[in-house]
Amino acid sequence: MSQSLPVRTGRALLPWLVPLSLVLAWQAAAQAGLISHRVLPAPLEVLKAGAALTESGDIWSNLKISFWRVAVGFVIGLALGLATGVSRLAEGALDTTVQMLRNIPPLALIPLVILWFGIDEGAKVFLVAFGTVFPVYLNTYLGIRSIDPALIEMAKSYGLSGFGLFRHVLLPGALPSILMGARFALGIAWIILIVAETISSTSGIGYMAMNAREFLQTDVVVLSILLYALLGKATDMAARALERASLRWHPSYQAA
């Protein structure tokens, strides 16, 4: 594994090659007058809008609120998924219901959710939780079911049961699968939040974008879209870091 510095830097930059060239091409096209700035503002204008909003502090408060909504909804989804995935009793009582509910697109609930919760925080958190609970639930369930029964038998013969069995065998054994579900759920959480924020909100990035549309501020609209892309990437990177830290034992995470 002895590679020269240029090779390693090249490797690190490779994933960013495509997005960077796209941005450059976009800027060139805008400057050449090929794209009207009403339709799509140049990247530099978007950056300027970003700088202005950062200075006024709007961008941070909206970012914080959006992030908070995803976090709360995600944690509720994870807790419900773990409970049903681990406990046979909870599974028996809830599995059929969950299988029925998960076929409802979360966004179809928006009218009802607005009636129930208004357009407050509760509505967004509910929608995000509703969308994230199913992938987390299904992957947790699958992860626990796919643990080698021989290992569970061994652990029981060594006197483990109840919480001890959960902590030492079931949870770590299911963790790769749970984290997979978590990454999947994070993607869904952002999608739902975006829609929920654009439809009914008085804060958040989606609101910022809809507000900008009213005033024909295309640069702010594009900025919001880019922010969502960056936020999605950031949460995915966090989930992967968590994966690497907690799956050190897994052969595919060990350095060769």
Partner: protein, 263 residues
């Protein structure tokens, strides 16, 4: 290292009218057996004759259809070693040995690892170990509980010949030191004669042969008396017709179609 694991006395076993059936097939049929404390017993027989079934009953992993087992030690003093090491891949070697222990268990676990010669691998992941090393970790995990009854379900079956011989010597040494009652299930008659005080052959669900092995230890592989015994037992095993294979009903793993995947 003797400081941490004092020799524990073996437990005595009394099996009365023990029967086990899977569907129509009787695997064990009213089997009676007495095993005195500290004895090293080897169970041999054709595959499917019920030796592993008997071991699982003694381990409490299955319940017998009829009859009962008297063990003068509580169930927590019985430990099983399986054919595969069954180490938890997400725990380090040391944490695997300490499974099920509480309080200040690290010193005891390190001492047990030292006994099987793996003290220097304590902080590695099990996936990094060879098959023989994994079995030694599994042995350390059993020893750290100071078992009074050690059940060995073909633990050396998957090892290469040289590793097997090393493991056999290790097992004999540990048994001589700790004096736990040992029941070894094996399909290797030579291994049974090398290690055991007493060789039992299971046929038709009962004890078909009960042979005391009085050879001095350590046993020489080329000793004519040992070779003669080996030939005698092997001839007896081969007289028996091959029983129809029986697989105990294991917990079914879900089929892909039974799992409902998202999106």
């Amino acid at each position: 290292m003797d400081r941490f694991i004092p020799p524990a006395a073996g437990s005595a076993l009394q099996l009365t009218g023990l029967s086990q059936r899977f569907g129509q097939r009787r695997v064990l049929d009213a089997l009676d057996l007495t095993i005195p404390a500290g004895q090293f017993v080897a169970l041999v027989g054709r595959s499917g004759c019920g030796k592993s079934t008997l071991l699982r009953l003694l381990a409490g992993l299955d319940q017998p259809s009829a009859g009962h087992i008297d063990n003068d030690a509580p169930p927590s003093d019985t430990r099983v070693m399986f054919q595969d090491a069954r180490l938890l891949p997400w725990k380090t070697v040391l944490d695997n040995v300490g499974l099920g222990l509480s309080g200040q268990w690290r010193d005891a676990a390190r001492a047990a690892l030292a006994e099987v010669g793996l003290a220097d691998r304590a902080d590695e992941w099990p996936t990094r170990l060879s098959g023989g090393q994994r079995q030694r970790v599994a042995l350390a995990r059993a020893l750290v509980h100071q078992p009074r009854l050690l059940l060995l379900d073909e633990p050396l079956g998957a090892l290469d010949a040289l590793t097997r011989i090393d493991m056999q010597q290790l097992l004999e040494r540990l048994w001589q030191h700790h004096r736990f009652t040992t029941l070894l299930v094996t399909h290797d008659v030579g291994e049974a004669i090398a290690l055991a005080d007493r060789v039992l052959l299971i046929e038709d669900g009962r004890i078909g042969l009960d042979l005391a092995i009085d050879l001095p230890r350590p046993r020489d592989a080329a000793d004519p008396a040992r070779l003669a015994l080996e030939a005698q037992v092997l001839a007896r095993v081969r007289q028996q017709p091959q029983p129809e294979p029986v697989t105990p009903p294991a917990r079914p793993t879900p089929l892909p179609s039974q799992l409902r995947w998202s999106l």
